[in-house]
Symmetry: C2
Subunit: 155 residues, 2 copies
Amino acid sequence: MGLEIERRFLVLGDAWRAAATRSRRLQQGYLAREDGVSVRVRVVGNSARLTIKGPGSLVRHEFEYAVPTAEAEEMLTAFCGGRSLVKTRHDVPHDGLLWEVDVFEGPLAGLVMAEVELPDAHRPLVLPDWAGREVTDDPRYANAALASAAAPPRG
Amino acid sequence: MGLEIERRFLVLGDAWRAAATRSRRLQQGYLAREDGVSVRVRVVGNSARLTIKGPGSLVRHEFEYAVPTAEAEEMLTAFCGGRSLVKTRHDVPHDGLLWEVDVFEGPLAGLVMAEVELPDAHRPLVLPDWAGREVTDDPRYANAALASAAAPPRG
């Protein structure tokens, strides 16, 4: 079982783009969500993964398995109807950590959010200038919630 | 994507036992269920599988992946709390098809149910004498529903 320790922030402006080292488009959907457990299928280029995450916000247990891309695409289409999203993820290194800036598309267009995974929950975090309000504990900004949202949460 | 065509019946009496060819204990839980999609983790002896089933009763689309047994056991414990069940499955060949007779344990003790997978939805089915009421379309008898049940459905 993996342990994911992750903090999430809204992103201010475009300054992060100059520091981005890599970008790729992610298509993901939620097969099912229940009692805080979510099962996600994600396609990135020619690879795909199934991820099971336990309840929680800052710290979550997760299990991840590679699956055939064609099957993941079938699952996205057949099973994730109103529970999917598309975003472009940009890697932005800052202060020795890897920030991932997600630019959402479709009904969530306008939303830009950054995630940073921490080696442990108490690691001090030096925020980049473009990090806005922290939304780690705001359930509206969990991707599993965003996938069902008609528009990005305001405020 | 696999297509599962399956009919389910309650089981009358014990006569099926004489024809059983193989038995094994299954432990399974539901990671999450939403809009008819269910994600199941199942452990049988030293092997384990993750199964994603689409909505439906007689015909369901399904995807299945082998996962490490230790991880499946962790998922059962950590994520499937009130959504799991244990049963012993007996293979009972009848009229050229494989019937699986499930004898449930714990809160579902007393429930015995048989499933038969059909090569196609129109294959005529010769019922064994011990096949009782058909419950294929009764949502209370779906394993995903039984896993949350405090007692077997009556009637």
